[in-house]
Amino acid sequence: MMDLRPAEWVKHAITHPVEGFEDMRWKKSGSMKIACLIVFLLFLSEIASGRLYGEQFKVTYDKVFNVVPYITSTIVLFAAWVVGNWSICTLLDGEGTMRNICVYSAYALVPFIAQRFINVALSHVLIRDEYVFMQAIEIIGTGWTLILLFSAIKSVHQYSFGKTVFAIILTICAMLIMLVLLVLFMSLIQQIFIFASTIYTELSYRIRV
């Protein structure tokens, strides 16, 4: 029973919001490679929806292309989610390992990514009056991903409904804390760097004179 190839597991998990991830857990399946691919696709979808939209829907600032914001809003955010959830759920008696949290959460993102790509494609076919179709797709895709994400967390840790809600709220808090710390750390590094470069400049001037 349930003898599926890794790619088929993705399909199964997505199309069975309630039991899909339970089945995956039972069969101990889920591929890290596919999860990484999905997160990379998320990153691509972010760029696509930021850059490749039809001109009638979005006017993009095309003077510079900076990849850092796209990385931050996808890969870093996803990593923060995984780490945050893992650190919260080790405290809350969750059964999931870091690997499983990563894989299950990534699988749950597929409808969201699909929605993004579909909308980018549609934005070159539709006009503003028909924007409602794109909106519908966006809502369905995002909602589906949210449900899947909830289900993924619920099954990976074997939580009850209420505990999952609680864990997700705590995870979001943990993500915020981590990101704040990260920003703080970055600015400190920057200060140190400026300090070092100032000393270097100072010394180089002295030596020259």
């Binding site: 029973m1 003898d3 039809g54 001109e55 009638q56 006017v59 600032y61 076919v125 006009i127 503003r128």
Partner: protein, 562 residues
């Protein structure tokens, strides 16, 4: 003879070319600044000049002695200019070419026959409807209404009205009159708008006050005032808006400008007869988008629009004191040109005070250089003005040619891309319109053009699209049928052993164990066979063998875990 004529011709030609080069050089050398404009992202980029400084005129040039702190300039309906020479307490009338003074008004005859002098006059207005001259006589605290010969008809002084706070003085700075003869006066210390008087000189009320900008400070002050006592509140500073700095009238509308270092709303207003601001709903920025940074003072200088002028073609000229620049907008408040700078040379200003336009010229009064600088429209400016006039009147197609000419001269000119996109859309050239709308970043125009383009595309390729769609559907159906067949065949194959399993399990529990063992043995035998096969086969078939193995392993797992 022939040789001589040829020589003469070459001489004349080379002279003309040389002359052209020199004039071109001097023309570009005249501007002591880099001309710029804003692109569709609101970033400053180099651009063509719409106006160039032709000359600066002082009082000496006009033959009336030096100006001293001139503060206003006005061009009447007979093309006579009036320069308010505040420091010399006089009004100088100048001919339309701005070559010589035609008359100097320094004293006026009162109705009772006595003579009266001006004291620091600040503003002047001449009404085209009744040929009357209105002079804001600042330090005499009055507005003189006189005819063109200097006979005073009326004198407007501080109104004896309850609306007017009697503790405040009456210091007129600018004055205008509308068609009906109502007089509007900007007062130096009044923030509640311009004082409005009827044609007989009776005070009516205030007109066109600015709003208080809801900054954080003002909001917090309001919140604290909710909890303070009446007496305390009375002693606190009140929130008052900045008063109007200058205004101009154009037909039925009065345009006001406000120079303030703190207030960013209501800097330019277009008021109707009821005093409502027509520009209130648009959130345009007047002056530079990013404030100018002054290195000598280490300070950010916000724009301060000190004077406003409405040209005959409806364009709005705003004079920014901070940067010494004239910002020209079309009637819909789209930026056309930026002219001038802070500099000593001709074309730069030290203390820009007032602005007037006539035909293709701009006249800017500098009250520290004591000159009037005359700017003339360039070829580029003329084409842009022509295109803008057509565009704003709704003649998009007529505007197409001038806009394309503008793009030839300055491919970064944002308005031109908008104009071309609109024109091509009107003409039905949807693809071209899309291209220019994209360049202009105008999503709304692009949307309409794309709608048309899509419609045309569908109409043109309907047959092909239909055929392709039909082919795809048929192919999909065929594929579906084939898949179903294959799946059924696979299922039939798989069903045989599975059914056997269940049958043996169902027989009885004692035999079940045996059956299981038998199955396992079979599976092992299969495995070994497969392995052997794999070994026999070359490396090419090895992965296939492995796959088979894995599948079989999984088959075995199933029942065991159950």
């Amino acid at each position: 003879m022939k040789k001589l004529s040829r020589r003469l011709v070459t001489l004349a030609l080379s002279g003309a070319i040389l002359g052209g080069c020199i004039s071109a050089l001097t023309a570009s050398a005249r501007e002591p600044y880099d001309v710029y404009n804003y692109d569709r992202w609101g970033e400053a980029i180099p651009s063509q000049a719409g106006y160039i400084a032709e000359r600066a005129v002082s009082g000496y040039d006009l033959g009336v002695g030096a100006f001293e702190s001139p503060s206003d300039i006005f061009c009447d309906h007979n093309d006579i200019f009036y320069v308010v020479d505040s420091g010399n307490d006089r009004i100088v009338a100048v001919d339309s070419d701005f070559r010589e003074a035609v008359r100097v008004y320094d004293s006026f005859t009162m109705p009772d026959g006595s003579r009266t002098k001006l004291k620091n006059p600040q503003g002047i207005f001449i009404s085209a409807d009744n040929d009357l001259m209105y002079i804001a006589d600042n330090e005499n605290a009055r507005v003189l209404v006189c005819d063109m010969d200097g006979n005073v008809q009326r004198e407007i002084t501080k109104p004896d009205s309850e609306i007017y706070d009697q503790k405040r003085t009456f210091l007129p700075q600018r004055v205008i009159a509308d068609k009906a003869g109502n007089v509007y006066i900007v007062l130096g210390n009044i923030t509640t708008g311009a004082a409005m008087f009827d044609p007989e000189g009776e005070f009516i009320g205030f007109y066109g006050a600015n709003r208080v900008q809801p900054t954080a400070e003002i909001v917090s002050r309001y919140l604290t005032s909710l909890f303070t006592s009446e007496e305390k509140r009375a002693r606190r500073a009140r929130n008052v808006p900045t008063g109007i700095t200058s205004f101009d009238i154009d037909g039925d509308f009065i345009f006001t400008c406000t120079s303030s270092s703190t207030q960013t709303t209501d800097t330019v207003k277009k008021l109707n007869a009821a005093g409502n601001n027509i520009f209130a709903s648009n959130d345009y920025t007047y002056g530079d988008y990013a404030p100018m940074y002054d290195t000598s003072q280490n300070k950010l200088l916000a724009p301060a629009i000190v004077d406003i002028d409405i040209a005959e073609d409806g364009n709005i000229n705003c004079l920014d004191f901070t940067t010494g620049r004239v910002f020209q907008y079309d009637e819909d408040c789209h930026l056309l040109f930026i002219t001038g700078t802070l500099a000593k040379q001709v074309g730069g200003f030290d203390h820009a005070a007032a602005l007037e336009s006539k035909g293709e010229n701009l006249y800017v009064v500098d009250s520290r250089k004591d000159t009037v600088t005359i700017f003339t429209e360039t070829d580029f400016g003329r084409i842009v003005h022509k295109a803008t006039a057509y565009y704003n009147a709704g003649y998009y197609e007529e505007a197409l040619e001038p806009w394309l000419e503008v793009l030839k001269r300055d491919g970064n000119y944002w308005r031109a891309n908008v104009g071309v996109a609109s024109a091509l859309l009107r003409k039905g050239d949807y693809e071209g319109s899309m291209k220019y709308a994209k360049l202009a970043g105008m999503g709304s125009i692009y949307n309409k053009a794309f709608e048309g383009y899509r419609m045309e595309f569908l109409k043109k390729h309907f047959g092909a699209i239909f055929a392709v769609a039909a082919a795809v559907i048929i192919a999909l159906l065929a594929l579906g049928v084939a898949m179903k067949k294959r799946r059924r065949a696979l299922a039939a194959e798989a069903a045989v052993p599975a059914d056997a399993d269940i049958a043996t399990l169902d027989l009885n529990k004692g035999e079940a164990a045996e059956a299981l063992q038998a199955l396992e043995a079979e599976a092992k035998a299969d495995e070994e066979a497969a392995r052997l096969k794999a070994e026999i086969a070359a490396g090419k078939t090895a992965p296939e063998a492995k796959n088979e193995e894995r599948e079989e392993e999984q088959h075995d797992d199933g029942p065991e875990t159950r």
